[in-house]
Amino acid sequence: MRCEEVRELLPAYLDGEAARQAEIDAHLAWCGECRRELAGYRSMVRSLAALRERGAHPAPQLVERLVALIPAPSLLDRVRFNVYDHPGWYAAASLAAAVVAAFLLRRRARERPALA
Protein backbone atom coordinates (compact mmCIF):
# COMPACT_ATOMS: atom_id res chain seq x y z
CA MET A 1 0.00 0.00 0.00
CA ARG A 2 1.10 3.54 -0.63
CA CYS A 3 1.34 6.04 2.25
CA GLU A 4 -1.55 8.11 0.81
CA GLU A 5 -3.84 5.09 0.87
CA VAL A 6 -2.82 4.18 4.41
CA ARG A 7 -3.32 7.72 5.72
CA GLU A 8 -6.76 7.88 4.15
CA LEU A 9 -7.73 4.85 6.19
CA LEU A 10 -6.12 5.78 9.53
CA PRO A 11 -9.26 7.43 11.01
CA ALA A 12 -11.08 4.10 10.63
CA TYR A 13 -7.98 2.09 11.61
CA LEU A 14 -8.16 3.72 15.07
CA ASP A 15 -11.37 1.77 15.73
CA GLY A 16 -10.09 -1.40 14.06
CA GLU A 17 -12.59 -0.88 11.27
CA ALA A 18 -10.41 -0.01 8.29
CA ALA A 19 -10.62 -2.02 5.14
CA ARG A 20 -7.35 -3.89 4.51
CA GLN A 21 -6.42 -3.78 8.19
CA ALA A 22 -3.68 -6.42 7.78
CA GLU A 23 -2.09 -4.53 4.89
CA ILE A 24 -2.05 -1.36 6.95
CA ASP A 25 -0.37 -3.24 9.79
CA ALA A 26 2.28 -4.44 7.39
CA HIS A 27 2.82 -0.95 6.03
CA LEU A 28 3.07 0.57 9.50
CA ALA A 29 5.69 -2.00 10.42
CA TRP A 30 8.21 -0.36 8.13
CA CYS A 31 6.90 3.20 7.51
CA GLY A 32 7.87 5.61 10.29
CA GLU A 33 6.05 8.55 8.71
CA CYS A 34 2.73 6.75 8.76
CA ARG A 35 3.37 5.52 12.30
CA ARG A 36 3.89 9.15 13.35
CA GLU A 37 0.66 10.11 11.61
CA LEU A 38 -1.16 7.33 13.46
CA ALA A 39 0.33 8.55 16.74
CA GLY A 40 -0.99 12.03 15.89
CA TYR A 41 -4.49 10.65 15.39
CA ARG A 42 -4.33 8.72 18.65
CA SER A 43 -3.19 11.80 20.52
CA MET A 44 -6.00 13.80 18.97
CA VAL A 45 -8.63 11.25 19.96
CA ARG A 46 -7.27 11.11 23.54
CA SER A 47 -7.47 14.90 23.70
CA LEU A 48 -11.05 14.82 22.44
CA ALA A 49 -12.02 12.36 25.19
CA ALA A 50 -10.44 14.68 27.75
CA LEU A 51 -12.80 17.47 26.67
CA ARG A 52 -15.63 15.51 28.29
CA GLU A 53 -14.40 16.52 31.72
CA ARG A 54 -14.03 20.06 30.60
CA GLY A 55 -17.62 21.05 30.96
CA ALA A 56 -18.80 24.37 29.71
CA HIS A 57 -19.47 26.87 32.41
CA PRO A 58 -23.15 27.07 33.23
CA ALA A 59 -24.60 30.05 35.04
CA PRO A 60 -24.22 29.56 38.80
CA GLN A 61 -28.02 29.64 39.21
CA LEU A 62 -28.53 26.69 36.87
CA VAL A 63 -27.77 24.02 39.42
CA GLU A 64 -30.36 25.47 41.83
CA ARG A 65 -32.95 25.54 39.05
CA LEU A 66 -32.18 21.91 38.27
CA VAL A 67 -32.42 20.92 41.93
CA ALA A 68 -35.81 22.66 42.09
CA LEU A 69 -37.06 20.23 39.44
CA ILE A 70 -36.57 17.21 41.70
CA PRO A 71 -39.97 15.68 42.40
CA ALA A 72 -41.19 15.74 46.00
CA PRO A 73 -41.20 12.27 47.59
CA SER A 74 -44.49 10.54 48.30
CA LEU A 75 -45.42 9.51 51.85
CA LEU A 76 -44.56 5.91 50.97
CA ASP A 77 -41.15 7.02 49.68
CA ARG A 78 -40.47 8.84 52.97
CA VAL A 79 -41.30 5.74 54.96
CA ARG A 80 -38.98 3.73 52.74
CA PHE A 81 -36.12 6.23 53.20
CA ASN A 82 -36.52 5.99 56.96
CA VAL A 83 -36.46 2.23 56.84
CA TYR A 84 -33.31 2.29 54.73
CA ASP A 85 -31.74 4.93 56.94
CA HIS A 86 -32.58 3.40 60.31
CA PRO A 87 -32.94 -0.35 59.77
CA GLY A 88 -32.09 -1.06 63.44
CA TRP A 89 -34.94 1.09 64.73
CA TYR A 90 -37.38 -0.53 62.40
CA ALA A 91 -36.19 -4.01 63.30
CA ALA A 92 -36.61 -3.18 67.01
CA ALA A 93 -40.04 -1.65 66.40
CA SER A 94 -41.12 -4.71 64.43
CA LEU A 95 -39.92 -7.01 67.19
CA ALA A 96 -41.73 -4.96 69.82
CA ALA A 97 -44.93 -5.04 67.76
CA ALA A 98 -44.61 -8.82 67.41
CA VAL A 99 -44.15 -9.24 71.20
CA VAL A 100 -47.22 -7.08 71.94
CA ALA A 101 -49.29 -8.99 69.37
CA ALA A 102 -48.20 -12.31 70.85
CA PHE A 103 -49.08 -11.10 74.35
CA LEU A 104 -52.54 -9.96 73.26
CA LEU A 105 -53.25 -13.19 71.41
CA ARG A 106 -52.18 -15.26 74.38
CA ARG A 107 -54.36 -13.25 76.77
CA ARG A 108 -57.32 -13.60 74.45
CA ALA A 109 -56.77 -17.36 74.25
CA ARG A 110 -56.80 -17.57 78.06
CA GLU A 111 -59.99 -15.51 78.33
CA ARG A 112 -61.90 -17.57 75.77
CA PRO A 113 -62.52 -20.72 77.95
CA ALA A 114 -63.80 -18.47 80.76
CA LEU A 115 -66.35 -16.94 78.42
CA ALA A 116 -67.44 -20.36 77.25
Binding site: P11, G40, M44, S47, E53, G55, L69, D85
Partner: protein, 200 residues
Protein backbone atom coordinates in the same frame (compact mmCIF):
# COMPACT_ATOMS: atom_id res chain seq x y z
CA UNK B 1 -35.77 22.53 47.51
CA UNK B 2 -34.22 21.18 50.67
CA UNK B 3 -35.73 17.79 51.32
CA UNK B 4 -35.94 16.57 54.88
CA UNK B 5 -36.50 13.09 56.30
CA UNK B 6 -33.79 11.87 54.04
CA UNK B 7 -30.50 10.01 54.03
CA UNK B 8 -27.29 11.69 54.95
CA UNK B 9 -23.71 11.92 53.82
CA UNK B 10 -23.94 10.64 50.30
CA UNK B 11 -20.69 12.36 49.45
CA UNK B 12 -18.79 10.66 52.26
CA UNK B 13 -19.24 7.31 50.61
CA UNK B 14 -17.02 8.06 47.64
CA UNK B 15 -14.05 6.34 49.15
CA UNK B 16 -15.72 2.99 49.59
CA UNK B 17 -18.37 2.85 46.88
CA UNK B 18 -17.54 1.86 43.35
CA UNK B 19 -17.70 4.89 41.13
CA UNK B 20 -19.82 4.11 38.12
CA UNK B 21 -18.69 7.18 36.22
CA UNK B 22 -18.52 10.93 36.44
CA UNK B 23 -18.33 10.73 40.24
CA UNK B 24 -21.61 8.82 40.42
CA UNK B 25 -21.54 5.76 42.67
CA UNK B 26 -23.73 2.67 42.58
CA UNK B 27 -24.97 3.59 46.03
CA UNK B 28 -25.99 7.03 44.82
CA UNK B 29 -27.78 5.55 41.83
CA UNK B 30 -29.59 3.06 44.04
CA UNK B 31 -30.85 5.90 46.22
CA UNK B 32 -31.87 7.89 43.17
CA UNK B 33 -33.90 4.94 41.93
CA UNK B 34 -35.84 5.08 45.20
CA UNK B 35 -36.74 8.71 44.38
CA UNK B 36 -34.63 9.95 47.26
CA UNK B 37 -34.49 13.74 46.73
CA UNK B 38 -31.19 14.14 48.59
CA UNK B 39 -29.61 11.59 46.30
CA UNK B 40 -31.14 13.21 43.23
CA UNK B 41 -29.77 16.57 44.35
CA UNK B 42 -26.33 15.02 44.75
CA UNK B 43 -26.63 13.49 41.29
CA UNK B 44 -27.52 16.88 39.82
CA UNK B 45 -24.62 18.59 41.55
CA UNK B 46 -22.16 15.96 40.33
CA UNK B 47 -23.36 15.75 36.74
CA UNK B 48 -24.79 19.15 35.79
CA UNK B 49 -21.57 20.50 34.30
CA UNK B 50 -21.23 17.43 32.11
CA UNK B 51 -24.86 17.62 31.07
CA UNK B 52 -24.70 21.34 30.36
CA UNK B 53 -21.41 20.91 28.49
CA UNK B 54 -22.90 18.33 26.14
CA UNK B 55 -26.09 20.35 25.68
CA UNK B 56 -24.05 23.44 24.89
CA UNK B 57 -21.88 21.58 22.38
CA UNK B 58 -25.02 20.37 20.61
CA UNK B 59 -27.21 23.49 20.57
CA UNK B 60 -24.39 26.07 20.77
CA UNK B 61 -26.33 28.65 22.71
CA UNK B 62 -25.93 29.09 26.48
CA UNK B 63 -29.58 29.84 27.22
CA UNK B 64 -30.88 27.07 25.00
CA UNK B 65 -28.35 24.70 26.58
CA UNK B 66 -29.84 25.51 30.00
CA UNK B 67 -33.34 24.75 28.67
CA UNK B 68 -32.10 21.45 27.29
CA UNK B 69 -30.37 20.59 30.58
CA UNK B 70 -33.58 21.24 32.53
CA UNK B 71 -35.68 19.13 30.18
CA UNK B 72 -33.07 16.36 30.20
CA UNK B 73 -33.04 16.20 34.00
CA UNK B 74 -36.83 15.98 34.10
CA UNK B 75 -36.60 13.00 31.78
CA UNK B 76 -33.83 11.46 33.87
CA UNK B 77 -35.85 11.84 37.07
CA UNK B 78 -38.75 10.06 35.38
CA UNK B 79 -36.59 7.30 33.93
CA UNK B 80 -34.18 6.55 36.78
CA UNK B 81 -36.64 4.28 38.58
CA UNK B 82 -36.52 1.81 35.73
CA UNK B 83 -32.81 2.17 35.03
CA UNK B 84 -30.84 -0.91 36.06
CA UNK B 85 -27.58 -0.90 34.15
CA UNK B 86 -25.28 1.04 36.44
CA UNK B 87 -22.29 0.53 34.21
CA UNK B 88 -24.11 2.27 31.40
CA UNK B 89 -25.35 5.24 33.40
CA UNK B 90 -23.08 7.75 31.72
CA UNK B 91 -24.09 6.63 28.24
CA UNK B 92 -27.74 6.63 29.28
CA UNK B 93 -27.39 10.19 30.56
CA UNK B 94 -25.57 11.32 27.42
CA UNK B 95 -28.26 9.76 25.22
CA UNK B 96 -31.03 11.55 27.08
CA UNK B 97 -29.24 14.89 26.74
CA UNK B 98 -28.56 14.22 23.07
CA UNK B 99 -32.15 13.21 22.37
CA UNK B 100 -33.46 16.24 24.25
CA UNK B 101 -31.11 18.57 22.40
CA UNK B 102 -32.07 17.12 19.02
CA UNK B 103 -35.78 17.52 19.83
CA UNK B 104 -35.05 21.08 20.86
CA UNK B 105 -33.28 21.74 17.56
CA UNK B 106 -36.15 20.13 15.63
CA UNK B 107 -38.65 22.45 17.29
CA UNK B 108 -36.52 25.38 16.24
CA UNK B 109 -36.02 24.14 12.71
CA UNK B 110 -32.27 23.72 13.23
CA UNK B 111 -31.99 19.96 13.17
CA UNK B 112 -31.44 19.88 9.42
CA UNK B 113 -28.04 21.51 9.75
CA UNK B 114 -26.82 18.45 11.64
CA UNK B 115 -27.67 16.19 8.73
CA UNK B 116 -25.54 18.12 6.30
CA UNK B 117 -22.18 16.54 5.83
CA UNK B 118 -20.74 19.50 3.95
CA UNK B 119 -17.20 20.24 3.01
CA UNK B 120 -14.89 22.17 5.26
CA UNK B 121 -14.38 25.79 4.41
CA UNK B 122 -10.63 25.65 4.14
CA UNK B 123 -10.35 29.42 4.25
CA UNK B 124 -11.60 29.38 7.84
CA UNK B 125 -9.31 26.64 9.01
CA UNK B 126 -7.24 27.58 12.01
CA UNK B 127 -3.59 26.98 12.53
CA UNK B 128 -2.82 24.83 15.50
CA UNK B 129 -0.12 24.75 18.09
CA UNK B 130 2.03 21.66 18.04
CA UNK B 131 0.32 20.22 21.09
CA UNK B 132 -3.25 19.59 22.13
CA UNK B 133 -2.40 20.74 25.61
CA UNK B 134 -4.24 23.89 24.56
CA UNK B 135 -7.78 22.55 24.69
CA UNK B 136 -9.17 25.86 23.48
CA UNK B 137 -7.30 25.33 20.22
CA UNK B 138 -8.89 21.92 19.86
CA UNK B 139 -12.35 23.31 20.60
CA UNK B 140 -11.81 26.10 18.08
CA UNK B 141 -10.65 23.61 15.47
CA UNK B 142 -13.82 21.57 16.04
CA UNK B 143 -15.86 24.68 15.39
CA UNK B 144 -14.46 24.70 11.87
CA UNK B 145 -15.95 21.34 11.02
CA UNK B 146 -19.26 21.10 9.16
CA UNK B 147 -22.10 20.67 11.67
CA UNK B 148 -22.92 17.13 10.55
CA UNK B 149 -19.33 16.00 11.12
CA UNK B 150 -18.79 17.97 14.31
CA UNK B 151 -21.85 16.53 16.00
CA UNK B 152 -20.78 12.94 15.28
CA UNK B 153 -17.23 13.64 16.48
CA UNK B 154 -18.53 15.22 19.70
CA UNK B 155 -20.89 12.35 20.45
CA UNK B 156 -18.44 9.57 19.59
CA UNK B 157 -14.97 10.80 20.51
CA UNK B 158 -15.85 13.22 23.30
CA UNK B 159 -18.90 11.63 24.94
CA UNK B 160 -18.40 7.98 24.00
CA UNK B 161 -21.71 7.13 22.35
CA UNK B 162 -21.50 4.25 19.90
CA UNK B 163 -21.98 4.81 16.18
CA UNK B 164 -25.16 2.77 16.44
CA UNK B 165 -26.53 4.98 19.21
CA UNK B 166 -25.62 8.12 17.30
CA UNK B 167 -27.29 6.77 14.17
CA UNK B 168 -30.42 6.04 16.17
CA UNK B 169 -30.55 9.57 17.58
CA UNK B 170 -29.80 11.23 14.26
CA UNK B 171 -32.05 8.93 12.27
CA UNK B 172 -29.31 7.78 9.92
CA UNK B 173 -27.56 4.47 9.26
CA UNK B 174 -24.69 3.33 11.46
CA UNK B 175 -22.49 3.12 8.39
CA UNK B 176 -23.23 6.73 7.52
CA UNK B 177 -22.23 7.73 11.04
CA UNK B 178 -18.89 5.95 10.63
CA UNK B 179 -18.23 7.65 7.31
CA UNK B 180 -18.88 11.03 8.90
CA UNK B 181 -16.77 10.20 11.93
CA UNK B 182 -13.78 9.24 9.83
CA UNK B 183 -14.15 12.34 7.68
CA UNK B 184 -14.42 14.48 10.80
CA UNK B 185 -11.25 13.00 12.31
CA UNK B 186 -9.39 13.50 9.04
CA UNK B 187 -10.60 17.09 8.75
CA UNK B 188 -9.80 17.89 12.33
CA UNK B 189 -6.32 16.48 11.96
CA UNK B 190 -5.82 18.56 8.83
CA UNK B 191 -7.06 21.70 10.54
CA UNK B 192 -4.85 21.14 13.55
CA UNK B 193 -1.69 20.49 11.57
CA UNK B 194 -2.28 22.92 8.75
CA UNK B 195 0.33 25.56 8.24
CA UNK B 196 2.94 24.42 10.69
CA UNK B 197 3.52 20.85 9.64
CA UNK B 198 3.95 19.85 13.24
CA UNK B 199 3.47 16.35 14.40
CA UNK B 200 1.43 15.87 17.50
Amino acid sequence: MSPRHLPRNLGDEDGVQAVVDGGVTKELLARCRRNDPRALEELVRRTHRRVYGLAYRLVRDPHEAEDVAQEAYLRMFQGLGGFREEARFETWMHRIVTNTAFNHLRRRGRFGELLEDGALDVATAVRSESSFADRDELERAMERLPAGQRIVLVLKDVYGLSCREIGHELGIEEGAVKVRLHRARRRLREVLTEGDGDEV
